[in-house]
């Protein structure tokens, strides 16, 4: 791997991404066996430090580490010294005293993982920082796309719909999709569209009229906290659902729908679409496991050896 840490999609070259996705693919057979565990990372220590609520990312990383036989420690905000006012720097220094190989970290502030990397010899993997980056989500999304459409994603059209302003998934995905040669269109209400986001080389739309031309529709969760009084990002969830919500009438047969979860049925996605076989949401969760196994593995061993041989 080009860099020691995985902090942002900018840390990865195309070669790195292809290697991680190939490695993830090579891990798939393990997950079909009766005994879904290999000794690859035996004796390695992986700390997960989640300073923000998470279900799927933290459980996915935890299971990925266990499938590779690594020892894991989980530190969450509630019930830990962070609640007692310990600084990020001190938490990282303390965790580093256990000599972990990897710290998997989520934090509500952008750049927190990069700051943490300054204080530890361990590799830091960003599991989401602020509204900035969520590179492992992007990699699992790319893996899902590859499993669905094949290795060549060049020229495909993907529309990301929803609250772009507050989405780290969108920021990582834009970088990753563009790296694969995909055309990215951002769709959403102007109040949730960052000013000057076009500078990233994306198209911006405020309605769904062009959605049918997309190969893939990628939906983002509308967070209820955006609805707080005075925030005025949206007048109501009802109006959002009417204007930007995806239901059967807005999806072309065969058009694929993705969502990083957790979904709001009846807001950004109708129940019918959520349960439709063309929807890739559960494939994404599955991809999360093999992709994160590949990320942990490649972070520790780098470019050397072949994962499948060891598996």
């Amino acid at each position: 791997m080009t860099k020691r840490d995985l902090l942002s999609m900018d840390d990865l070259t195309r070669t790195d991404v292809d290697l991680i996705l190939d490695t993830a693919e090579s891990f798939l057979p393990i997950l079909q066996r009766d005994i879904k565990k290999v000794p690859t990372l035996r004796g390695r220590t992986i700390v997960s430090y989640f300073h923000e609520a998470s279900t799927r990312t933290s459980s996915s990383f935890d299971l990925a580490a266990k499938r590779l036989s690594a020892d894991t420690i989980a530190l969450k905000k509630s019930g830990s010294a962070i609640e007692k006012g310990e600084s990020l720097k001190d938490t990282i220094l303390t965790l580093s005293a256990y000599s972990p190989d990897i710290i998997v970290m989520r934090h509500p502030s952008a750049g927190a993982c990069r700051l943490a990397a300054r204080y530890t010899p361990a590799s830091v993997i960003n599991a989401g920082d602020g509204k900035y980056q969520h590179p492992t989500q992007c990699l699992l999304d790319l893996f899902t796309l590859r499993q669905t459409f094949g290795r060549d994603l060049d020229g495909m059209k993907i529309s990301i719909v929803g609250d772009i302003l507050h989405s780290r998934v969108a920021r990582s995905d834009i970088a990753g999709f563009q790296m694969m040669g995909m055309h990215v269109t951002l769709v959403g209400p102007p109040t949730m569209m960052p000013r000057d986001i076009e500078s990233l080389g994306v198209a911006v739309e405020h309605d769904l009229s062009h959605l049918r031309t997309a190969d893939v529709i990628y939906l983002l969760r509308i967070q209820r906290e955006r609805m707080q009084a005075g925030a005025n990002f949206l007048p109501s969830l009802r109006e959002y659902a009417r204007v930007w919500g995806i239901d059967r009438s807005r999806v072309r047969p065969g058009q694929k729908v993705m969502h990083p979860g957790p979904i709001n049925r009846g807001v950004e996605i109708s129940g019918e679409i959520a349960d439709d076989p063309d929807t890739l949401i559960l494939e994404q969760v599955e991809a999360g496991l093999s992709t994160r196994m590949a990320i942990l593995y490649r972070t520790i061993v780098g470019y050397s050896d072949s994962a499948s041989e060891e598996a």
Binding site: S87, L88, H107, A110, K131, Y132, R168, S199
Partner: protein
């Protein structure tokens, strides 16, 4: 009251300098001089400016071949952190940092803990300065008690105690009527009102300039209109009252348009700009280093270029550092959680000389005017000058000396510099303030 010449600066007593600086390029906007001369200082005063001067008696001789000798700089806008924030800065460290940056006077803002909003507190600070400050320092008083934005301070009494001007800097005066009354009442004291122009309903939880970089980083943005709307409103009120207004830390081209329009109309307004806004852009924030987080935030290149041009032509009157020390524990946190502010006294001239004079954006004589004569005029203190009979207040700058910005070169108790760790070319090597040698890099 108006124009009463009360004392506005205080420092420790020290031995008066006896010094002969030989062969420096003397650059002095107060005399228009830009030529190689010897400067003789006797008992803290400039005794002679000429050629082949001889040291009288005990004068130390300093060979200054290739160096610039300039009137010392005056900072209208610093945060001393005294009282209440002495872990980040105290008057000893502040004036050490100022001296190493070539400053001969600095004025603190009133947003301390407690707030400088009464004469007794200001008199106490003046006493502390006489015990601790090597470089003369002075103080702003608050516009409103406790910076609460509600009740005016006793401005006449504060002016009598030596307040240089009035400002709630750090917090915008949100109420136009309050600004109006403050301008009306301050006119009695002969002091101006300095405003921090920011519409907080627009900046909200913003941490950097709103634009392409904030879009990329997912950081909440502070739009440029948050500044320009407030600047325009303050100018309207000042024009209506024909009152002395000073606009702090202008950072946007849009605000400059308003400033130009009202200056043309003859409104008695002055404005300052910070070294970081003149030399850095919001692109610097991609590092997510808390040492480039300040308010107003770094802006895009078009704004930066407009600020430089405005400073050169005099639309912006002066440079002010907005020196804002924060201790390491407060800045070693993720960008969004860090407090706003960077220090600037130690690097201001070196960075502006290297970046602006170096590429011809501003000529040296003009830059010295903007850093020394102009802010002195605004503060109502004598302009530092290299002329016979004047009190010695100058600095010597070696354009070839390279140095690294860090703890040992900044002298501040805090190291939150936007240039921390950078190597700069050109360094202040000697500063004489109030007739005392306050900084000698060779000592």
């Amino acid at each position: 009251m108006a124009g009463t010449a009360t004392q506005r600066l205080w420092c420790k007593r020290a031995a008066k300098a006896d010094l002969l600086v030989k062969g420096a390029r003397v650059v002095d906007p107060t005399t228009g001089r830009d030529e190689v001369k010897d400067v003789l200082v006797t008992r803290g005063r400039i005794a002679a400016v000429g050629d082949d001067l001889e040291p009288g008696g005990s004068a130390a001789v300093r060979d200054a071949d290739g160096c610039l000798l300039m009137p010392g700089f005056v900072d209208l806008h610093a945060h001393f952190r005294v009282p209440g924030g002495e872990d980040a800065e105290d008057l000893t460290s502040l004036t050490a940092a100022a001296a190493a940056g070539g400053y001969v006077a600095a004025f603190g803002m009133a947003n301390t803990d407690p707030v400088v909003d009464n004469a007794a507190l200001l008199e106490g600070l003046a006493q502390r300065a006489q015990a601790e400050a090597t470089v003369p320092v002075g103080f702003h008083a608050a516009v409103t008690r406790g910076l609460q934005g509600e009740q005016l301070t006793e401005m006449v009494e504060l002016a009598t105690a030596g307040a240089v001007a009035f400002s709630d800097d750090g917090i915008p005066l949100r109420d136009a009527d309050l600004l109006r009354k403050a301008l009306q009442y301050a006119s009695v004291t002969g002091r101006h009102i300095a405003v921090h122009a920011e519409d907080r309903s627009l900046t909200r939880k913003g941490v950097m300039h709103e634009g392409a970089v904030s879009a990329r980083l997912g950081l909440a943005g502070m739009p440029s209109i948050a500044e320009s709307i407030e600047v325009e409103r303050a100018l309207e009120v000042a024009a209506y009252e024909d009152a002395r207004l000073h606009v702090c830390h202008v950072s946007t081209a849009a605000a400059l348009e308003h400033l130009a329009r009202f200056k043309e109309r003859g409104v008695p307004v002055t404005a300052e700009v910070c070294p970081h806004h003149l030399t850095l852009t919001d692109e610097a924030v991609v590092t997510l280093d808390a040492n480039v987080k300040m308010n107003p935030p770094l802006r895009p290149e078009a704004d930066r270029a407009a600020l430089v041009a405005a400073l050169a032509e005099g639309l912006i009157d002066c440079v002010a550092t907005d020196h804002a020390p924060h201790c390491a524990d407060d800045k070693e946190v993720p960008f969004e959680e860090a407090p706003f502010g960077v220090i600037g006294l130690g690097t201001a001239f070196a960075i502006l000389y290297a970046e602006l004079v170096g590429d011809g954006a501003i000529d040296l004589l003009t830059l010295v005017d903007r850093m020394s004569s102009a802010p002195a005029r605004i503060a109502g203190i004598p302009q530092p000058s290299i002329r016979e009979g004047a009190e010695a207040g100058f600095c010597l700058f070696d354009p070839g000396d390279t140095w690294t910005v860090g703890r040992h070169t900044l002298h501040s108790r805090s190291q939150n510099s936007a240039w921390l760790g950078k190597e700069l070319r050109g360094r202040v090597i000697l500063t004489v303030a109030a007739g005392h040698v306050v900084w000698d890099a060779g000592a």
